[in-house]
Amino acid sequence: MASVGPRARTSRLVTRDLGDELLVYDLERHKAYCLNQVAMQVFRHCDGETTIPDMALRIANALGMPVDEQAVRLGLVRLEKAHLLDSAVARILHTSRREMLRTLGRAAVVVVPLVTAITVPTSAQAASGCIPFGSPCTGPGQCCPPFSCNASIGNPGMKTCN
């Protein structure tokens, strides 16, 4: 039987709940997202069973603030765009994204669901300016922990982080 409500992806996702936001890493696409409280609630209620009106009600109760169906719809669109839903939600939504935003613009800013992409650094960027393993260095304190600046095995005349 086809599900009546949207369903969130459960496979190949790693999540971390920070209380007021949810971090999600998509192992399929190697993208990471930060969901604010409203988006997190929408994501969590996407069980394939809960309809949009029910979702709005439950989320409003959970957050203790008014959350209408338009906010839920916008959250679904944003989650879908981030590939965090199992199925397309187009058939469930009957309003354009622009229309949703226009309607939401009249509501309090706090209920807007946000799904923000997190920039994933590379090894070198993560090391924040220090010199990575195997690269040339000239003295103490330059190498990324836990490496130190030593003569290179392959070339004793040159120092590298190892």
Binding site: V14, R16, L18, G19, L23, Y25, L27, H30, A32, C34, I118, T119, V120, P121, T122, S123, A124, Q125, A126, A127, S128, P132, F133, G134, S135, P140, G141, C143, C144, P145, P146, F147, S148, N150, A151, I153, G154, N155, P156, G157, T160, C161, N162
Partner: protein, 379 residues
């Protein structure tokens, strides 16, 4: 505890990072969060917390304890935690792929250090950032290297005991180890026994070493490889291991003795106790007392316990002296291993002839070792 000397005010008067590192160390020991009365100090603390691998944990603690911190610093910590989460998951996923890749061709490997413990000892991978992922190859080293290269990994550099490979699509670096430390033959690991003791990982990493093996690996890395110059989060690894998955003392003794790593384990545990108050049960205290080389007792009593902050990376350790002490009874082997570190079948850089290598290693290790014996750390 010597950490109690440091306050935000003294951090500022002493200027700079060592005092801020000490502030963060005191937080780990006492639970008392450093207060950040203004943006400049908070911003510096954030930088040092990142350097010491503690940004995620600090962000969580500030949120839980509802401490007032300047908004800009809180935002920086939040971003750091987000990035560390994303990058950490990506790194562990790469480790998992390499385990699958090698495992499918009958080459076993186990994670070392951060990759072995981020998912089991920390609530989030964001709380245990790593520069790279380390994997110890248990079988057929040359085959493991070839398999990685064929899979598109690009070599970034090599040391006597490891080679670093970049995975271009993910931007992560995998350090493939054939020994936990340089001079690996000084610490012979029973790799088959380590595999038998290993268990399935609970997260992305497929298989992880036992607590006992992990403690021996961490200790060798800390004491012998880096002369105890570690970041705070690396010291926290020891405490978390002892608190959350305490090794069995009898099995630890068996593993450590088998690897001739008793001195390294004793020294690393003493250091972790001094730096982050790693709990040493009476059984562990007994092992430490029995295993600490006599030449290091004065060093531990007067230097390590007196000023634990001096150990924190990027400190420059008395590496040669410490290695000499840790190799007590095997110092000829240490010299031999230092002068000839390459195990069979390890590829060497072109043009690196025997005489040049010997002279280079003399300059690199033998002479500093001899010099440092005459100028060992003050007790």
């Amino acid at each position: 505890m010597s950490w109690s000397f440091f306050t935000p005010a003294s951090a500022r008067s002493q200027g700079e990072r060592p005092a801020l590192r000490a502030l963060l160390g005191r937080w780990l020991v006492t639970g008392e969060l450093p207060s950040a009365p203004d943006e400049a100090l908070a911003s510096l603390l954030v930088e040092v917390a990142r350097e010491q691998g503690l940004a995620g944990l600090l962000h969580q603690a500030i949120g839980e304890q509802r401490v007032r911190w300047p908004d800009a610093a809180r935002l920086a910590l939040r971003r750091a935690e987000q990035e560390d989460f994303a990058f950490g998951v990506r790194q562990l996923d790469t480790a998992s792929r390499v385990q699958d890749l090698l495992g499918a061709r009958g080459v076993r490997c186990l994670p070392l250090k951060g990759a072995a413990l981020a998912e089991r000892l920390y609530d989030s991978v964001a709380h245990r950032p790593m520069a790279d992922v380390d994997l110890l190859v248990l079988d057929e080293w040359p085959r493991a290297v070839t398999l990685l290269e064929k899979a598109g990994f690009v070599e970034q550099g090599q040391a006597a005991h490891a080679r670093a490979f970049l995975d271009p699509p993910s931007g992560t670096v995998v350090e493939l180890h054939r020994g936990v430390t340089s001079c690996a033959r000084l610490f012979p690991l029973d790799l088959d026994a380590a595999w038998r003791r290993s268990r399935a990982g609970a997260g992305l990493v497929k298989r992880v070493p036992s607590s006992e093996d992990l403690l021996v690996h961490l200790s060798l890395h800390a004491a012998f490889q880096h002369g105890l110059a570690l970041s705070l989060v690396q010291y926290l690894d020891f405490r978390r291991l002892l608190e959350r998955e305490p090794p069995d003392p009898a099995l630890l003794a068996q593993v450590a003795v088998g690897a001739s790593a008793q001195g390294a384990v004793a020294l690393a545990l003493e250091a972790a106790h001094a730096v982050v108050a790693a709990p040493l049960s009476p059984a562990f205290q007994e092992l430490v007392t029995a295993w600490l080389p006599s030449g290091l007792r004065g060093y531990v009593a007067s230097r390590l316990r007196a000023d634990p902050s001096a150990l924190l990376a990027p400190a420059e350790p008395a590496l040669a002296w410490l290695r000499w002490q840790l190799a007590t009874g095997r110092q000829i082997a240490l010299i031999r291993e230092t002068l000839n570190p390459s195990l069979p079948s390890f590829s060497r850089a072109a043009g690196f002839g025997g005489l040049g290598r010997a002279l280079g290693l003399m300059r690199r290790w033998f002479l500093p070792t001899v010099r440092s014996l005459g100028a060992r750390p003050q007790k």
